[in-house]
Amino acid sequence: MSVRIILLHAGVILALFLMQFLASDYVVLTFTRIMVLAIYALGYNILFGYTGLLSLGHAMFFATGLYGAALGVTRFGLGVPEAMLVAIGLGIIVSTVIGAVSLRASGVAFMIVTLMFSQAAFLTVLYFGDYTRGDEGIVISDEFRRFSLFGLEADLANPVLRYNLALAFLALAVAVTLAVIRSRAGHVLVAIRENESRTAMLGYDTARYKLLAFVLSGAFAAFSGASYALMFAYAGSTLASIQYSIHPLLWTLLGGAATVLGPVLGTALMFLLVDFASGFTSASLLVVGVALILLVLFFPKGILGTLRQRYLPWLP
């Protein structure tokens, strides 16, 4: 891997680390949220950006992590680290099963199948309202968010710890994404996106590679969902709704599909845009809509995608 690629990504992580010493508490909180959700977008990008598969149902994997962690600590007596691992494990299992079924379809049919599964998952959350507390949601009280790991006491209610943990998770997700897309499998995923039938005729088991991308994105989504529940002490059905399947798609498109940092940038920009717009109008989504239209007009490949095309061909 070339030095400038490492420097760029390490630089972004370092900048985010330094930001906490300069920014207000509010900005730190916002960026904690952005970083956690950017993990979701990073995984989505492996499936959508690199493999070319558009899922409209990833909220179900996000929700798997979210509820896996929330119920894990509140109902099953798990500690925070164990609940995280269980939630990610569940995300892998659920996405393997759903992926194996839905990847039998392609194109629009794949979008519809993933959307339907996700709606079924959403309704399941509401149906088991006794456990999930429906759209009111589970509020995780502070006692469940304290844990000790390697002899260190930690409390997720502490904003500084929370910020740095989110940053560490984001750095991990970026590193894994970089490793995946630069691996042999990563090249095959791009080959599938570019010409699937040809890739099969070169002797690659395309179904297996597509499932790999699907499960990776599902695992990232569950990782993000579990982090979200534990760090912000909340798991509600809104976070399992269709909106949360669309979000990672928009974030990825905004920042640049098939660029490693694009989803991170897209998540941040969308958050800041909504934040900025809601400061002076109640129609903040209108502002977001206009911004997206401008994006399609002037940055059809997303911000980093278009930058790469014009100026930075080396950008991964």
Binding site: R182, S183, R184, H187, V188, V190, A191, E194, N195, S197, R198, T199, A200, M201, L202, G203, Y204, D205, T206
Partner: protein, 231 residues
């Protein structure tokens, strides 16, 4: 010479159309075999059945002693059946070198360079393949076929759209390939067929009309009528 490929009563119909009907076909190792026939004779369907891109309606395919009829295409490729597309099917957004490296199953490396050199595209390695000329894209297809290091290389109309000088060097290339692979060639260009093929199979309306050495095929009345023209 030992048998590399054998089809038994291989058939495929599309609705009422019998594109390939009860074809018994065998191919020896090291052979260069041409399949000729008028348009719509079922040539592409026939090789698609062998490569696994299309499933047969009935019949069986044995490759290197193994029944591969039920295997999906990618497994057949892994066993050594390579197919180069009649309609160019490359990765237009990737460079020529990336295309061939994928075929060599070493994507992200320079493993494709030797194969590009063999087809005369070494100086085009870094060019986005969608911007290559048509003739060069055809040669890239062939390079990808070579990079698979197949036991059987199926070339579907490889010289279509090539200039005379490109055809000349292509003939040399196929001879070179034939030293360590068996070649199944669908070709309309009769001089190329006559020069390269050890044996020729003539398909007409999904059936084998004739089979034999080039000079026998040229002399056959039935083939003359069906294909070469009676003129």
């Amino acid at each position: 010479m030992s048998l590399l490929l054998e089809t038994r009563a291989l058939s495929r119909s599309f609705g009422g159309l019998k594109a390939v009907e009860a074809v018994d076909f065998s191919l020896s190792r090291g052979e260069v075999r041409a399949v000729i026939g008028p348009n719509g004779a079922g040539k592409t369907t026939f090789v698609s059945l062998i490569s696994g891109r299309i499933a047969p309606s009935s019949g069986s395919i044995v490759f290197a002693g193994e029944d591969v009829t039920a295997l999906p295409a990618f497994r057949r490729v892994q066993r050594g059946i390579a197919y180069t597309f009649q309609i160019t099917s490359i990765y237009a957004n990737l460079t020529a070198e990336e295309n061939v490296a994928l075929a060599a199953h070493r994507p992200g490396t320079h493993a494709g360079r030797d194969y590009l050199a063999r087809v005369g595209l070494a100086d085009r390695a870094a060019q986005r393949s969608g911007t290559l000329s048509y003739g060069h894209q055809r040669l890239l297809e062939v390079a990808m076929g070579l990079a698979l290091r197949p036991k059987l290389l199926i070339l579907d109309e490889p010289t279509q759209g090539l200039s005379d000088s490109e055809i000349e060097s292509f003939i040399g290339l196929v001879r070179d390939v034939a030293r360590d692979a068996t070649v199944l060639l669908i070709e309309h260009n009769m001089p190329v067929v006559m020069t390269l093929a050890h044996r020729i199979t003539v398909l007409d309306r999904g059936r084998i009309l004739a089979e034999g050495r080039p000079e026998d095929i040229r002399a056959s009345d039935a083939v003359q009528r069906a294909y070469l023209g009676t003129g």
